[in-house]
C-alpha cells in the first residue's frame, strides 16, 4: 500500500462514516458535517506537509491461547493447504477412510475399540485417555479431538460431549461416537471441520455410565433399565441389596410382560391377538388376564417382581447444583462415574460449552440463567424501556416467527446482568431447532443434573439433548401429537417391517405356572431408535454441536485508524470485535468470578514509543464526540466482548525516528489471541 493511497483511504473513511450515520439529517446539519470532513482532511494535509506519512499496515494472526501462555499463532500463509479439500457437496468426504456401521448399537468392548482405532488412525487429531474407572472397573474412555499442530487441546476453547449418563439411553453413545467419527474423517476434506478443529477442542465421552451402558446393549433388558450406576441399593427396604433383579425367564433375549389367566382380570387380548388391552365392558364374556408384572421371578418372596433391580441413585441427579437427597442419594458426586466427569471438567477450564445426550422426547433442554422473579410478578412489573420491553412475550415470539418459524424465546425474565446469556441461548437453540427440525427447545431443570452443574458451577453453556422420542414423530398419522395403539402397530408393520413386536404367547413359569407373556415392543423401539434411524439422528445432532462450536467467540482486531494529534504524536485506534454468537465469557462465569477478562496490550517498537496516558474514555476526534475509544494504559486494559460485540481502543504514540511500529495484542481465554501491527513512517508523500 503506498502512502498516497493510504491518505485517500483515511479521508474517504471519515466521509463515509459521516454520511452513513446521518442520512436523514437536516440539510443544515449535513452541511456542518461536510465542514467537519473538510477540517479532518486539512489535519491530514498538515501532517503530510510536515513530512509525516502514515502507513497502517496490519498483519493479523488469530489463535486460541490462554492469557498467561499464548500458543504460537498459526500463520495461515505458512500452513499447508488442506490436503484433500472437497469443494463439491456431492463429493467424497472421507467416510470410507474409517468404515463403520451406524446401523447398530455397540457394547463397551466394541465402542471403546472403535475409539482406540479412531485415535490410531488419526493421531494428529485425537488423543485417548481414561478419565477414571467405573464401579465395576471399566475405563471411562474419552477422546480429545483437535488439530494438534495449531496448539494444545487445553489452550483452545472446548466443547464437552457425553452420552448415556443413564445406562439405558445408549443412542447417546452412538451420537457422540458419530460426532468423533465425523470430525476425524472429514478434517482433511471439509473446510468447515478443518477450520473448527484448528481452533477448537472436543472432549467426547461416548459412554458415561459404562457398566449400565454395556449391560443395556448386550443383555436382555426392558427399555428402562439398567438406568442408574451400579451402586448397590435397597430399593424395596427389606435390608437386602439388588436381590430382585430382572430376569429373562424364557431365555428369548427379551424382557416382556407377564399375565395369568384370571376370570376376574382386567385385561383381554386385542382383536388382532397381538396386544393385551383393558376390558372396557365388565359384562363382556372374554378370556381375561391379570397382569403379573415384568418378566422375572419374585426372588425375595414379597409379592413384587423385579422391584429391587440393580443400580443406585440416578446419576443425573448426583451433580452438586440443585442436588437433593431424594433424587441424588446419598450425597453429591457420590458416584465414581459422575465424579470422574466433574473433576475432569473442573480441571479443564477451557470447556466453554457442553452437550449431554439423553432420551427421550426430542428436546433441546438448555440451561438458562435464574429467573429474576416469578412469572406473576413479571406481568405486574413495569415494562423496561424500548419496544422490546413494551411487547408481551407472546407478541415478541410472534414477531420473531414471522421471519423464522423455528425462532424460540424463553419465557423467563432474568436480572440485567444475565440478559446476554439468555439472549445467546435463545439464538443458539433457535438455530438448533432449525437444524434438528422436530426438536423443541425448553429450559432445563436443576436438581443435581449434569448440565445444571456445567452452567451454574462452571459457567459453561450447557445443553441436554433428549434424543429420539418414542416413535411419536414417525408414527403419528393423524398429527394429533400422540400415537395410538393402532398407529403404533402400523408403524411397526410398515416402517419396521414387522420387526420390533412380541406377540402374546403361553409359557410355563417355574414359579408361577402357566402364564402368558409378550404383547410388548422389543428393546430399541421406544427409548432408543431402531437401528435404521440411528445415523439420521446422529448426523443432525452432530451438526448442531458443530454449529455451536463454530459460534465460540473469536476475537479479531480490525478497523485501524491513525490520527495526527500534535507534532510527532499520533492517535492509533483499533477495534476488538467478536462476531460470533457466544460472548468471550458467559454472564454466569462472570457472576461466579471464574471468568478471565479479555485483555489488550500495546507495545511500540523501533523508533516509536507509546505515551503513557490514563485508562478511560477518550475522544480522539474532537469533532465527533460519539466516536469514543478506550485509552490503553501501559499495563493494558481488560474488557469482555459479548456475542456480536465490539470495543474501540486507542493509544497515543510518539514517532521518535522516521519510522516505527506499534503492536496490539488481544488475548481472550475462549476468544483466542489476535495480534495486529501498525507501521508508521515519516516521509514526504510522493
Amino acid at each position: 500500500m503506498n502512502a498516497k493511497r493510504t491518505m485517500r483511504t483515511m479521508s474517504a473513511r471519515n466521509t463515509m462514516s459521516a454520511a452513513d450515520s446521518r442520512e436523514t439529517m437536516h440539510t443544515k446539519r449535513r452541511t456542518r458535517m461536510e465542514r467537519m470532513t473538510r477540517t479532518l482532511g486539512r489535519i491530514a494535509a498538515v501532517a503530510s506537509a510536515a513530512g509525516i506519512v502514515i502507513l497502517a499496515l496490519a498483519t493479523v494472526s488469530v489463535s486460541a491461547a490462554p492469557p498467561a501462555a499464548p500458543a504460537p499463532s498459526p500463520d495461515p500463509a505458512a500452513a499447508p493447504a488442506q490436503a484433500k479439500l472437497q469443494k463439491s457437496p456431492g463429493g467424497y468426504h472421507g467416510e470410507l477412510d474409517f468404515p463403520i456401521s451406524w446401523k447398530r448399537y455397540y457394547g463397551y468392548a466394541e465402542w471403546t475399540g472403535i475409539m482406540r482405532d479412531l485415535q490410531k488412525k488419526y493421531p494428529a487429531l485425537a488423543d485417548i485417555q481414561s478419565i477414571g474407572k467405573s464401579r465395576m472397573g471399566r475405563d471411562q474412555l474419552l477422546l480429545t479431538i483437535t488439530a494438534k499442530k495449531t496448539g494444545k487441546p487445553e489452550d483452545k476453547p472446548a466443547m464437552w460431549v457425553d452420552g448415556a449418563i443413564h445406562g439405558n439411553e445408549v443412542n447417546g453413545i452412538t451420537c457422540s461416537l458419530y460426532l468423533a467419527w465425523y470430525l476425524l474423517t472429514r478434517y482433511d476434506y471439509d473446510a468447515f471441520v478443518h477450520d473448527l478443529l484448528d481452533r477448537t477442542t472436543f472432549y467426547i465421552l461416548p459412554g458415561l455410565n459404562v457398566d449400565a451402558n454395556d449391560s443395556y446393549v448386550r443383555f436382555p433388558n426392558t427399555e428402562n433399565n439398567p438406568r442408574e450406576t451400579y451402586r448397590p441399593a435397597d430399593d424395596d427396604g427389606d435390608g437386602l441389596y439388588d436381590e430382585d433383579q430382572t430376569e429373562d425367564v424364557d431365555g428369548d433375549g427379551e424382557l416382556t410382560m407377564m399375565y395369568v389367566e384370571d376370570p376376574a382380570g382386567d385385561w383381554k387380548l386385542s382383536p388382532d391377538k397381538r396386544r393385551f388391552v383393558r376390558v372396557e365392558d365388565p359384562r363382556e364374556e372374554v378370556l381375561r388376564f391379570r397382569r403379573l408384572g415384568p418378566e422375572g421371578y419374585d426372588n425375595d418372596g414379597d409379592g413384587l417382581i423385579n422391584e429391587d433391580d440393580i443400580g443406585g441413585p440416578d446419576p443425573n441427579r448426583n451433580f452438586p447444583y440443585g442436588w437433593s437427597i431424594d433424587q441424588g442419594y446419598p450425597y453429591p458426586m457420590s458416584e465414581i462415574e459422575t465424579r470422574n466427569v466433574f473433576e475432569f471438567q473442573l480441571a479443564h477450564p477451557n470447556i466453554f460449552a457442553s452437550f449431554h445426550y439423553h432420551n427421550t422426547g426430542r428436546l433441546i433442554m438448555f440451561q438458562a440463567p435464574p429467573a429474576a422473579q416469578p412469572r406473576g410478578a413479571q406481568a405486574a412489573a413495569a415494562p423496561a424501556g424500548g419496544p422490546r420491553g413494551q411487547m408481551s412475550y407472546e407478541q415478541r415470539l410472534e414477531e420473531l416467527r414471522k421471519t423464522d418459524k423455528y425462532a424460540y424465546l424463553a419465557d423467563r425474565q432474568v436480572a440485567p446482568e444475565y440478559q446476554h446469556d439468555l439472549d445467546v441461548q435463545n439464538a443458539i437453540v433457535s438455530t438448533g431447532a432449525r437444524i434438528l427440525k422436530d426438536y423443541t427447545p425448553t429450559i432445563g431443570g436443576l436438581s443435581g443434573q449434569a448440565h445444571a452443574a456445567t452452567y451454574y458451577m462452571l459457567g459453561a453453556y450447557a445443553y441436554l439433548m433428549e434424543l429420539w422420542g418414542s416413535p411419536v414423530f414417525e408414527a403419528d398419522l393423524d398429527g394429533d401429537g400422540r400415537v395410538s395403539d393402532e398407529e403404533f402397530m402400523k408403524w411397526i408393520d410398515i416402517e419396521l417391517m414387522g420387526q420390533g413386536w412380541i406377540a402374546p404367547y403361553k409359557f410355563k413359569h417355574p414359579d408361577l405356572g402357566d402364564i402368558w407373556m409378550g404383547g410388548t415392543a422389543r428393546k430399541h423401539i421406544g427409548r432408543t431408535p431402531p437401528a435404521r434411524y440411528i445415523e439420521t439422528e446422529a448426523l443432525r445432532n452432530a451438526n448442531f454441536v458443530l454449529y455451536c462450536a463454530s459460534q465460540f467467540p473469536q476475537v479479531e482486531l480490525t478497523d485501524v485508524k491513525v490520527t495526527p494529534a500534535a507534532g510527532n504524536l499520533f492517535w492509533v485506534e483499533i477495534t476488538a470485535r467478536n462476531s460470533r454468537v457466544y460472548p468471550t465469557s458467559s454472564d454466569r462465569a462472570v457472576a461466579l468470578k471464574r471468568a478471565i477478562m479479555d485483555r489488550i496490550a500495546v507495545s511500540g517498537k523501533s523508533g516509536l514509543s507509546v505515551v503513557e496516558i490514563a485508562a478511560g474514555p477518550t475522544v480522539v476526534d474532537p469533532l465527533d464526540p460519539a466516536a469514543r475509544s478506550e485509552a490503553i494504559p501501559s499495563k493494558g486494559s481488560e474488557f469482555r466482548l459479548k456475542g456480536g460485540d465490539s470495543k474501540r481502543f486507542c493509544v497515543l504514540v510518539k514517532l521518535d525516528g522516521r519510522e516505527g511500529w506499534v503492536e496490539f495484542t488481544a488475548r481472550s481465554r475462549h476468544g483466542g489471541t489476535a495480534v495486529k501491527r501498525v507501521d508508521l513512517k515519516a516521509g514526504r508523500a510522493s
Partner: protein, 295 residues
C-alpha cells in the same frame, strides 16, 4: 435439603451437623469445646464490666495472670518491637496460637475430655437396641398322607429396649433410611408362605424413653411419642420406589403396631425338619437373630 444460592448464602450451609441431621436423619450435635473461663478448674469468677468489651478485657487479664502463675508465662509471648520487612515498624507477640481456642494442657485439658467423655457415653446409652424377646414355632397341622408338609405358625415378639426410636422423625422421611424388618429364614425350596411374606415391615420402633412434648399437654407426643399407646406407624415411604415403579398389588406383610414392641406372625408349610430362623434387621437398632425349634 439442598443449598439454594439465592436464599442460603447468608447461612453457614454445609456444616457436618446440618448434614448429619438433615440428610442422614441422625442425632447430631456440634460441640464447641473450650471456654477457658469455665473449663479451668479453680479459675476465679470475673466480675462483668460495664460492657462486653470491658468484660472481655477483664477475662483476658485474669487469664494472663493465671498463665503467668500456673504455666510460667509459657502460653503467651510478650509483645516486642519488630520491623516487618513489608509492614514496617510494629510490635509482635501475643498468645501462642495453639491456646486461645484449645484447652490448656494439664488439668484444663483433662477436665474438658472427661466432661465430654461422660456426655458421649450418656448419648451412646440412648441408642436403640433391638431384641427378640420371644420366638416360637407351633405345629398347626402335622404332615399326613402323601403330603410331606407340616403347617407351622411362627410368632416372634420384638422390642426396642434402647431409650431412643430406631429413627428420628427426620430420619424416617429420608431416602436411604428404611424401616425395620423381620425375616423368617427357611430353606427356599422347602417352604410355602401361607400367611405373611418372608419379610415383614415393622415401621420405626419407638424407644423406651418418653420424649417430652414441645407443645405441652403432658408427656409423650414429641418428635416421636413413646409407649405402647402410640398410634401405628406410617411407613417410611407411603409407597416404596418399587411400588411406585410397578404399581400396587401384592406387597410385603406389615406389622406396625406402634410403640416399642412388635408382634410378628407367619403361617408356613414346611417340608421335613427345615430349620427356622427369625432375623430382625434395624439400621440403627442392630440385628437380632433367633433360631427356633418347632414345638
Amino acid at each position: 435439603m439442598s443449598y439454594d444460592e439465592l436464599n442460603d448464602r447468608r447461612y453457614g450451609f454445609g456444616m457436618s451437623s446440618d448434614w448429619d441431621y438433615l440428610q442422614l436423619g441422625v442425632w447430631s450435635i456440634t460441640t464447641e469445646l473450650w471456654n477457658p473461663a469455665k473449663d479451668i478448674p479453680g479459675f476465679p469468677a470475673v466480675e462483668p464490666g460495664a460492657d462486653e468489651a470491658e468484660t472481655r478485657l477483664r477475662v483476658q487479664r485474669a487469664l494472663l495472670k493465671w498463665q503467668d502463675e500456673k504455666y510460667g508465662g509459657k502460653l503467651f509471648v510478650p509483645w516486642k518491637k519488630y520491623k516487618h520487612p513489608e509492614l514496617g515498624e510494629g510490635e509482635i507477640g501475643g498468645w501462642v496460637p495453639l491456646y486461645p481456642s484449645n484447652a490448656w494442657p494439664g488439668e484444663p485439658l483433662l477436665n474438658v475430655c472427661d466432661r465430654h467423655f461422660r456426655f458421649e457415653l450418656f448419648r451412646a446409652g440412648l441408642m436403640p437396641d433391638i431384641v427378640i424377646n420371644d420366638a416360637r414355632a407351633r405345629v398347626v397341622q402335622a404332615a399326613s398322607g402323601p403330603g410331606k408338609y407340616r403347617i407351622i405358625e411362627v410368632t416372634a415378639s420384638i422390642e426396642n429396649k434402647g431409650p431412643l426410636a430406631t429413627h428420628t422423625a427426620r430420619g424416617a422421611t429420608l431416602r436411604g433410611n428404611r424401616e425395620d424388618v423381620a425375616w423368617l429364614i427357611v430353606d427356599r425350596d422347602k417352604v410355602k408362605f401361607l400367611q405373611g411374606t418372608p419379610y415383614q415391615r415393622l415401621g420405626v420402633i419407638d424407644g423406651a424413653m418418653r420424649v417430652p412434648s414441645a407443645g405441652g399437654g403432658g408427656g409423650g407426643g414429641g418428635p416421636r411419642a413413646g409407649g405402647p399407646e402410640s398410634p401405628p406407624e406410617d411407613p417410611l415411604y407411603p409407597e416404596s420406589p418399587a411400588q411406585r415403579r410397578f404399581g400396587g398389588g401384592a406387597a410385603p406383610a406389615e406389622a406396625r403396631q406402634g410403640g416399642a414392641r412388635r408382634e410378628v406372625r407367619w403361617l408356613i408349610a414346611v417340608e421335613g425338619d427345615s430349620p427356622l430362623k427369625v432375623v430382625v434387621s434395624s439400621q440403627k437398632g442392630g440385628t437380632a437373630v433367633r433360631d427356633i425349634k418347632v414345638q
